[in-house]
Symmetry: C2
Subunit: 224 residues, 2 copies
């Protein structure tokens, strides 16, 4: 394809970048991709790419996300749009940033579609990032933290069924503080978002834990 696209006025390129969070090994982690081309070749960066002519912004983010993780039904929300004229050395690029939450899993998928390196990094040990991606990541973390307080977003970081201790762990890791077990359970159950599955999980050599399900896992809602 050597076709050219012509416009009477200058048009910036538009991309989406996705901040993909998950929790594993007791830490909040971020999905990064090692760039295979200039600029910033060899530097870690957020997954993302150019907007196709006939897709909506969220479709673009979803497509890019799936190309990197092969994951379906991942929670995805628009974060902010970054348009500093200098943010990409090649040309003017406006990037619509999204963030995504991948549920806790035993085997985190990282298979990239091509030979590029893909890896989960703990938020407190991030490598240097390309472009203005540090800024995007910081904003996403701030948003996640504050949404935890007034929405049911935490369940997007949990699998279909989970124990109350696992919910508490999500809150503790994202907020980076220990919480009181009894108070936490009172609060979280009072919200009416949890349904007891009636099943138990027998884990190690200790009392089994009740398994719960989020009443509406498909939509994040305001609470209180």
């Amino acid at each position: 394809m050597s076709m050219e696209y012509r416009y009477k006025h200058p048009h910036p390129a538009v991309t989406t970048d996705i901040v993909v969070f998950t929790i594993s090994d007791g830490a909040l982690k971020l999905l990064l991709i090692k760039r295979g081309q200039e600029p910033y070749k060899g530097t870690w960066a957020l997954p993302g790419g150019f907007l196709e002519p006939n897709e909506d912004l969220s479709q673009c983010a979803q497509r890019e996300l799936q190309e990197e993780t092969r994951l379906q039904n991942i929670y995805l929300e628009q974060l902010y749009t970054f348009g500093n004229p200098e943010r990409d050395p090649r040309e003017r690029v406006v990037s619509v940033a999204y963030y995504a939450l991948v549920p806790i899993m035993d085997n985190l998928p990282v298979a990239g579609s091509d030979a590029t390196a893909v890896s989960w990094y703990p938020m407190d040990k991030l490598p240097p990032l390309a472009f203005d991606h540090v800024e995007i990541v910081n904003l996403a973390q701030k948003r996640l933290l504050s949404k935890l307080n007034y929405t049911s977003i935490a369940f997007q970081l949990l699998p279909e069924t989970f124990t109350l201790s696992e919910v508490q762990t999500v809150y503790e890791i994202v907020r980076n503080e220990k919480l009181d077990k009894r108070n936490f359970r009172k609060q979280i159950t009072k919200l009416g978002l949890l349904e007891d599955t009636g099943e138990l999980r027998r884990n190690g050599s200790h009392r089994p834990a009740r398994l719960y399900r989020a009443v509406c896992r498909n939509k994040v809602q305001l609470i209180d």
Copy 2:
């Protein structure tokens, strides 16, 4: 200028649209502009326009806002980015929406730079809007309402100095409900955001009201 801009891949046009709110005559009002050209010629629309090659997104919004209102130092915040491929019939347009808050004024400026009609509409009597602007306006109103609860954004709708009753009026109009005077005053003063100017405003035939100033009017901050 008959110059053409060429790209190897299709690039959408990028615009900003601004949802400009103010309060007057006891109602939340929105600044609208009657379109002078197709598409949607003669229909009311949000102020906004194309991103220039060397300006940041917020600069673009600020510039468009100033061209319509001649106002400086207006609070401006990015809202959301709209990119439905069908949202503009001419070409693919991605619009970064902002919202702006204009303080209560006696003489609201509406002088457009050119001959276009510019007008403030009460939110409960909006005319039909061009493009997807209804959607943008609804989202902005929702955002304003929720930010009122956890930030000091209300002071952006007030002049330099103001009475407690005026603050209460802002809350009542945006939230569309009456509030208890004593409880409101206790809450708002407890936040530590208000500074007593020591001056009084003598208004009508009643006791004069104390005038207050927002401690940090230049930055909107989280409260609680």
